[in-house]
Amino acid sequence: MAIIRTEGLSKVFRTGFTMKKVEAVKGVDLKVDAGEIYGFIGPNGAGKTSTIKMLTGLILPTAGEAWIQDIPVSDPKCRAHLGFLPEGTFFHEYLTGREFLDFHGQLLGIDKATRQKRAGELLERVGIPHAGDMRIRSYSKGMRQRVGLAQALIADPEVVILDEPMSGLDPLGRKDVRDLILSLRDEGKTVFFSSHILGDAEVICDQVAIIVNGNIVHQGYIDDLLGQEVSGVELVLEGIDAPLFEELKVGATRAITQGPRFLLEFEDEASAQRVLERTLEAKGHVRSLVPRRRSLEDLFVEEAKKGNYA
């Protein structure tokens, strides 16, 4: 079942004195299945936030329709089981983290005892249990992002929409957020998040949609998009001598010597196989062997070359 669905969703902004048209979103069709992590990926200005704002009822579509759990987004009822993390900063600075969570819980009709219990649990879960009684004004960027995430989860929602959940976080923070998203899927929730960082999506998403210039240019399972085909193999070897290395590097697309270590890259698996066998025969060590698949990054670059970026 599609939890989030859009048909021909479009947004035209009119800006400035001349009311110049900006077509931010151009007929987007999305289908997000229940229980999946869905990445909404695109460069800056692609229309991610505009699409998400239409899904959450903050701006009205110029054309097209959208549903959450089969309820049109124009009906506030569709937001009863929705958690939302907006982009950037959006806090009542004068509230403490706990009060902030409590207030949003009230708007979702959660009773007081449950609100308090969940606020405590969530502060723990997002890693800021100590900050619950501090004013948000005094939070760091990372703490804000975390309390924002807790806010999105206060009602134990079935659908979670996150706009750039990892932006502004250090590597550890990004990992925490990735783990959080994965644990949400484990609980059977559907997570829809936007990002312009491909790595984030590649690691955790089931499906992705790539939006460029207001258009969806790719949509589907990561594996289908990238293909299973291996585009190359990278080997790092140790304990072999220079003559052997000279022999092995024939046909390699890359061959580098780093002190005792040798790095070789091949386009085909057969060559890699041959090098592997020869190294083991010579009592050398294989430090690593990494098959290289096409990455989302490559896909992005291809789209850019096709002129999909304006």
Partner: protein
Amino acid sequence: MRALRNIKAVAMNTYREAVREKLLYTLLMFAGLMIASSIVLVKIHLGYDERIYYDVGLAAIALFGSLIAIFVGINLVYREINSKTIYTMLAKPMRRWEFLIGKYLGLVGLLALEIVLMSALFLAVVWFQKGTFPAELLYAIVLIFVELVLLTAIAIFFSSFTTPYLAGMFTVSLWIIGHLLADIREFGNLPDSEAIRPLTEALYWGLPNLDRLDIKGLAADGIPITLKDLWMNIAYGLSYASLLLFSATQLFRVRDFR
């Protein structure tokens, strides 16, 4: 049920903001100072004259309340949009009108508190001087509150579709004109003003007539005010405010938050 719950949550949060951002205390301190100083000034310059005494006290309450209603009112919704705090609030099972009414009632509650405290101070001073106070003073204070309820609605109405700056200009204009409507009408009724009479009549009947809610002069003069008149004027103020709020929610419903 759900609507009430949401309105209450938003109103309470508005109140909490005023308390936390020290707005409330600042206001109360100023209000107290204003009443105290106006009374002291009158006393020094004019001795104890009941009429002027009442006039100045009521005027201080009304003026101060009006300034809060207008200048807090025009920023009320804008602040939530500008700081993006409205995003997570509206992404809830809450209708936009519930949010708007919640903000409105939060400020009205604040104004009520303000009026109660200022009036208590004023009436206490009168009581201290006279040993009693006329009921008309209370009536006048009730109508001042109704005026603030209406002014806040005007401010919210304008700020539901324009910037605080423009909303402020419009609201202040209506505040001033609203107190001059009786004069404007009289002007239109002069024999020479035949040509503009339709305009003055339209203004008189169309714009919010704040004069109707202003019985400060009467109260100070001790002219009796019938309860029927009082109720009529309260009903007028509240109906006009409801109309404005209804229009504001309609305008707010189709607005983009970006």
